[in-house]
Symmetry: C2
Subunit: 302 residues, 2 copies
């Protein structure tokens, strides 16, 4: 593998938007000192411990591509990242993936205990909807806010993220087809990534055709991100002597390389990137941040 | 104790509204046969297994008191009960209260496993917001829908239900003051009960003064319901030979009788019922269902 080094890192415009998202999250989360303090601590720990902030970046990038920059974007960026953070806290629980480390740090339930981690996740999900209904309502017309809340609710539920996680659990140790694997990822991570782009586009007042094109982009980028994850899992394996299998393979989870092989996975990744870039081609140079995020999702090294 | 037998059971109007709420829940939940089927099964099991349906009844009763009956009420009734059901699933988990039985049936995680129970709770929370943003949006003006979504999000989060559960966990084995106990209940169960009344009132287009009065009612009824719970825990103890302590007392949970004694708890219950009835007195006969629910919350036998 020889990833394009220029697109393996984010450029200054997206780096600045990460800072903006971090500030929005800091403002949106409850203060650590205020009661119930331990819950607030756990929520902040789950959200403010780093991360790629891909979903907030997609909110901003979609709106910028349509010529809109508004403080309303901060609420949407915050909401999608709170949902993502809550899903990681619950996925890491002993009854789920049982992960003790995330980004090199102890996971939320290791630090705060299982009960508090469950509650922190629950409260983060509620906060996402509360922030969207509160901050956005002051900036946008109410019908747009309702459409955004509906899109977010749908993306989180049984036909979206939670449903995808259920499919993922059911898939451990089973042999999936490529279509089944892609469907699982489309639900588990794809639904929220599509909602992120949709929220940015709704704030920008996108018409139905533009929403459709951006949704094709988001679907492809979400899947590409996941194919890249699986490829990194294999590459990590061969790079580190003494490790004979990647984490996902060891856990009996189906991956793109395990189903179609590494070479075909790289081809699928290139194909998905092409679909994403084609979908936003009509935006021309205005889609530059979306283009960058598509390249980044396909070429990132971690 | 000699509860008023007439107000210990619900009358035919509220019984009919329970049937209406059950039908709304049946419609709102995803079909059992559809993929991801196990998640859908777990969600339906958590919601459709009975229950008092107090929160839906408060939605309907508040709106009826203001002269409104609308199909939009069904979405609100559904949303608050989905939130309530999800909170029970998560509260029953081994890491939380570790309950194997609810209403005489095995709890969700006993039947479907811990991972699926966590996901079912997560998906039910998302579905509540999705239904509110979808069904309501078709019936009401968007600004009202946003206000309702905001109220529900706030009631579920760190300053509401999830925060109250965190305070409850922190209270086990500790000696709380009466004020601390009431604050814990005001968050843990009171916030969603107040939101239920608020949603019904918002659908009915209540003005600020009416919303205030109904909120005083809801706060008092929510607390009364909990005082009654604690009294039933003690009465159950003396009625059943061979049991030396109620479940809450045995679990080291602070209760009204353990803090202020049984007699003062009964007095507090009467006082709260009086506050509730006084708050809705200006509604006169239109408030009959709300009155009935206040009496029921104070006198119920289970």
């Amino acid at each position: 593998m020889n990833p394009n080094s220029e697109s393996a890192e984010l450029g200054p415009a997206l780096q600045a938007l990460i800072v903006r998202a971090e500030q929005a999250l800091e403002r949106g989360l409850p203060p650590a000192e205020q009661s119930p303090a331990e819950l607030h601590h756990a929520m902040r720990y789950a959200v403010l411990g780093g991360g790629k902030r891909l979903r907030p970046l997609l909110v901003y990038a979609a709106a910028h591509a349509l010529g809109t920059d508004s403080v309303a974007l901060d609420a949407a960026a915050c909401a999608v990242e709170l949902i993502h953070a809550y899903s990681l806290v619950h996925d890491d629980l002993p009854a789920m993936d049982d992960d003790a480390l995330r980004r090199g740090q102890p996971t939320c339930h290791i630090v705060y205990g299982e009960a508090m981690a469950i509650l922190a996740g629950d409260a983060l999900q509620a906060l996402a909807f509360e922030i969207l209904a509160d901050d956005m309502a002051r900036q946008l017309d109410a019908a747009t806010v309702v459409a955004m809340l509906h899109a977010l609710g749908r993306a989180c539920g049984a036909e979206g993220m939670a449903g995808g996680q259920a499919l993922d659990l059911a898939a451990v140790g089973r042999k999936l087809s490529l279509a089944e694997l892609e469907h699982m990822h489309a639900c588990k991570t794809g639904a929220l990534i599509r909602a992120s782009v949709q929220l940015g586009a709704l704030i920008a007042g996108a018409d139905a055709d533009t929403l459709d094109a951006l949704d094709r982009y988001a679907h492809a980028v979400g899947l590409a991100f996941q194919v890249r994850d699986d490829i990194l899992d294999v590459e990590g394996e061969s790079a580190v002597i003494g490790k004979t299998a990647g984490k996902d393979a060891a856990a009996g989870k189906p991956t793109f390389p395990s189903i179609i092989g590494l070479e075909a996975s790289c081809e699928r990744l290139a194909e998905l990137t092409d679909i994403a870039l084609t979908a936003i081609a009509p935006l021309g140079n205005r889609g530059v941040l979306l283009q960058e995020l598509a390249h980044y999702s396909a070429n990132r090294r971690r």
